[in-house]
């Protein structure tokens, strides 16, 4: 990052001086724009009731010399920032209440507006939870869904790792400064996420340590970045359920994996289901609820291999589209030997384009 625009400069300055996101929003409201805030802060600072005087002093003190130091720091850590005024800012996040004004991130945000599902769960997952997280994440990854999670241990780690393994973009939202790796053993995972077209994202400035309250707040970003939140395992009172609560407030779909009623780690998820979360037995349950995803899967099945179809196969597809649906009809329409036709039908079936049953052949659309 070479230089900052005025929005970025203003918000960074506020963030660095320890202004919380709420206060930041209030200040912006007060001044009308970041530009105005930057220009008129000194004139107005005595009238500000939003901030305590020591903070105002700190802001004044920081205003002149923070920029260069910070740019250097960002460059060393290979981190970048994006503000709510920038085009790169995740569009889904803009819609939520209390959207972070400033995000620090490592990696890139090129794909962050694609369909994403948050996969979250307990840190102390059971083997069932781990298995379910891996299976569902794998299947979601395979249909090209982004996986968002919280880079904590347990389910989060499995979600990220599985997504990476199956070439999905994955975004890790953390509750500390971008230069703080927590938990330490996920250092390698941090690196891989940012190097594989995903990103590690936080709203906290440098050096902020992971404290409980931060995690609480970052959960709204996890749900905010996703179309739906899949809760794999959760205890009765847990951060995971808080995320689910955020999701509900933000109008996101909530999916929960059911578990045994005697399992401590499924109490939360089972309660979610009781309260109206969608029970998730396979990713079909997720696909069904998310319209864009449903459309995409349909398209994938119908067109994913059209480029690889041979001329004969395309002729068969065309004929099927025109309403022919038995071997006899196809044979007459495209004048192909029965044997050859049957062979081509197998190939089409394997490509997922059609379904062959005894009485008819149907398109998989």
């Amino acid at each position: 990052m070479d230089s900052l625009n005025i929005n970025q400069k203003t918000l960074l300055w506020l963030s660095l001086s320890g202004i919380s996101n709420d206060k930041m929003s209030k200040l912006l409201d007060y001044f009308g724009s970041a530009h105005n805030l930057w220009d008129n802060f000194e004139n107005e600072k005595l009238n500000l009731t939003i901030l305590k005087t020591d903070i105002i002093d700190k802001l004044s003190e920081n205003k002149s010399d923070f920029e260069e130091k910070l740019l250097e720091k960002l460059n060393i850590k290979k981190a970048e920032i994006v503000t709510i005024y920038d085009d790169e800012y995740p569009s889904k996040l803009k819609q939520i209440e209390g959207a972070p004004n400033l995000l620090y991130y490592k990696g890139n945000l090129n794909f962050i507006n694609d369909i994403s599902i948050a996969v979250i769960g307990s840190r102390k997952a059971t083997s069932y939870g781990k298995w379910a997280a891996e299976k569902l994440t794998k299947e979601l990854s395979e249909i090209g869904v982004n996986i968002v999670s919280g880079l904590a241990v347990g389910i989060d780690t499995i979600a990220h790792k599985t997504a990476l393994k199956y070439n999905a973009k994955t975004y890790g939202i953390i509750g500390c400064g971008i230069n703080v790796v927590y938990p330490k053993k996920n250092l390698e995972l941090f690196k891989q996420i940012s190097e594989n077209d995903g990103a590690v994202i936080t709203e906290y400035p440098f050096d902020i340590q992971p404290v409980a309250f931060n995690f609480h707040a970052r959960n709204r970003i996890i749900s905010g970045l996703s179309e739906g939140v899949l809760v794999v395992e959760a205890q009765e009172k847990s951060g995971t359920l808080i995320t689910a609560g955020h999701a509900a407030n933000q109008g996101r779909e909530i999916f929960a994996v059911p578990g045994g009623i005697n399992s401590l780690y499924s109490k939360g998820t089972n309660a979610l289901i009781r309260d109206g979360a969608k029970i998730t037995l396979s990713i079909d349950d997720i696909i069904e609820e998310i319209l864009e995803l449903k459309e995409r899967v349909k398209l994938q099945n119908a067109f994913i291999d059209l480029s690889t179809l041979t001329d004969d196969e395309i002729r068969i597809m065309d004929s099927l589209k025109s309403g022919k649906n038995t071997v006899e009809e196809l044979r007459q329409e495209i004048k192909m030997e029965t044997g050859e036709l049957l062979g081509n039908l197998t190939l089409l079936e394997m490509k997922g384009a059609i379904k062959v049953s005894a009485d008819k052949i149907s398109l998989n659309i």
Binding site: V327, E328, R331, T338, G339, E340, L342, G343, N344, L345, T346, L347, E349, M350, G352, V356, S357, A358, D359
Partner: protein, 507 residues
């Protein structure tokens, strides 16, 4: 006075030479047969006596002892009537001594006429192999025996005719029946062109016939399973002379030769599902071939295969593997050939309408599972092609489109069979279905692309592992039908279509 006449008894399909020794001696008139005769031979005493009398010869008034040598071999069958009568007449000097290169078989009727016997053909063949020069056979058996070369067939109708012949007063020309197997044969009243529509089923059946693959037809009532099965013999290559002889032998000992001559039609056997194990495998105190042998070189059609008792189905396993069946009885062990193409049909569920678009199925899942469970894995393993058939729609039925005739299909099959025979001439098999696992990897090599297709098919379509070799064998036959040297990807792709029941019903 002593006389010795050569005749023959059958064990399975093998004929054994038997000497009929007759001795006339003084003492109280008496008639004894020794040498392990069974009841049918003991009874022949009465037939022989009446037949000789009614032919206006004198029945000797003396002590008659007939010995059947070798004495340790059990003998049965009414064909010994005639040699006993000839033995008595020779011993009483009505007939000149008969040379030992002539064998005599035939059953007597009380008026002196000679009746047809069962198993004349295998007896004559065995006697020819034992270097007999001449066989005297009943008039009614001459057609089946006439085709055998290397032995003169002398057909006789009555004792008096035979006496004149043996005394040189009458000449009977050896009967020769020439079959021209190269001629176009048209024995079947059914034809493939009568089946409207159903291209996939026809294709599957054609492939099955070309590679002699066993096939399972699954479909609701009225979908034409039986109709197509009955027409399979019409597309199989014509029997060769050797094959015809073998089939005729089996029918000969079963007494099932209706048209007398050699059997030239491929057998089609359709045993009912109430058939017993013995009727299927063969057996009985006097072992007779069962259905598996009667369908040798032809088609064994098992309609409604789940209705067959498990024990009956299980006896099919040996013949399907070895092409023959061994039956062990107290009297010995018999082996009959049984190389057949099995065509099985079944409904998809007990009521028959599962998956039928026009009827409701009234079965519970439990019933369906139980029904399908009757087909054991080992049996399924031996069925290369499975195809699901659907009822024909009305407008396809009334359609007067011209369908291919059996003749046209047969031509392609004959071609494919020739290719197979040529390829396997060194390993002693005739068709792809007989390939062993080793043979499959040698003769059904596939390229990388096909390998990948197969791998994907297993994963995506959920085929079971047992399908692997079957697909390769069937693909080999498809390649042969299309005259391809190597199995190509498209052949594999088509072969996969013929395993779709595997994934749907027996997953």
């Amino acid at each position: 006075m002593l006389s010795k006449i050569k005749t023959c008894v059958l064990y399975g399909l093998e004929g054994y030479e038997v000497d009929v020794e007759t001795d006339l001696s003084g003492g109280l008139p008496n008639f004894n047969i020794v040498g392990l005769p069974d009841i049918s031979i003991k009874e022949s005493k009465e037939r022989v006596r009446s037949a000789i009398k009614n032919s206006r010869f004198d029945f000797p008034v003396s002590r008659i002892t007939v010995n059947l040598a070798p004495a340790n071999l059990k003998k049965e069958g009414s064909q010994i009537d005639l040699p006993i009568a000839v033995g008595i007449l020779t011993a009483s000097k009505v007939i000149k001594p008969v040379d030992d290169e002539t064998c005599i078989i035939g059953e007597l009727s009380l008026d002196g006429r000679i009746n047809a016997i069962d198993g004349a053909l295998p007896m004559v063949i065995s006697m020819r192999n034992n270097s007999f020069k001449r066989a005297i056979v009943p008039e009614d058996n001459k057609e089946e025996c006439g085709a055998i070369e290397g032995i003169d067939i002398i057909p006789v109708g009555s004792i008096s005719q035979l006496v004149s012949y043996l005394n040189g007063e009458l000449t009977i020309d050896p009967f020769i029946y020439k079959y021209d197997f190269s001629l176009k044969q048209d024995y079947y009243s059914e034809d493939f062109s009568e089946i409207k529509g159903q291209p996939a089923m026809k294709r599957a059946v054609e492939i099955a016939a070309a590679g002699m693959h066993n096939i399972l037809l699954l479909g609701s009532p009225g979908s034409g399973k039986t109709m197509i099965a009955r027409r399979i013999p019409t597309i199989l290559p014509d029997l060769t002379f050797e094959e015809s002889l073998e089939v005729t032998k089996i029918y000969s000992i079963s007494g099932m030769l209706s048209n007398k001559g050699l059997i030239v039609k491929r057998p089609f056997r359709s045993p009912h599902h109430t058939s017993s194990r013995t009727s299927m495998a063969g057996g009985g105190t006097k072992p007779r071939p069962g259905e598996v042998s009667l369908s040798h070189y032809g088609v064994l059609f098992l309609d409604e295969i789940p209705e067959f008792p498990k024990s009956v189905i299980e006896v099919l396993r040996q013949p399907m593997e070895d092409g023959k069946i061994s039956i062990s009885r107290a009297s010995g062990s018999f082996t009959f050939p049984a190389k057949f193409m099995m065509v099985a049909s079944m409904n998809p569920c007990p009521c028959g309408y599962l998956g039928d678009p026009t009827h409701d199925c009234s079965c519970t899942q439990r019933h369906i599972d139980k029904y399908l469970g009757k087909i054991s894995g080992p049996l399924l393993n031996r069925i290369d092609i499975q195809i699901e058939v659907m009822p024909v729609k009305y407008d396809e039925l009334k359609d007067d489109r011209v369908e291919e005739t059996s003749e046209e299909i047969k031509k392609r099959i004959v071609k494919a069979r020739n290719i197979q025979r040529q390829r396997y001439k060194d390993i002693g098999i005739l068709t792809n279905s007989e390939l062993s696992t080793k043979g499959v990897s040698k003769f059904c090599k596939v390229n990388k692309e096909s390998e990948l297709l197969l791998k994907n098919a297993f994963e995506i379509l959920g085929l079971s592992a047992r399908a692997y070799n079957k697909i390769l064998k069937v693909a080999r036959t498809i390649a042969d039908l299309e005259n391809f040297e190597n199995v190509e990807t498209k052949h594999i792709a088509e072969a996969i279509q013929y395993r779709n029941l595997d994934r749907k019903y027996w997953r």
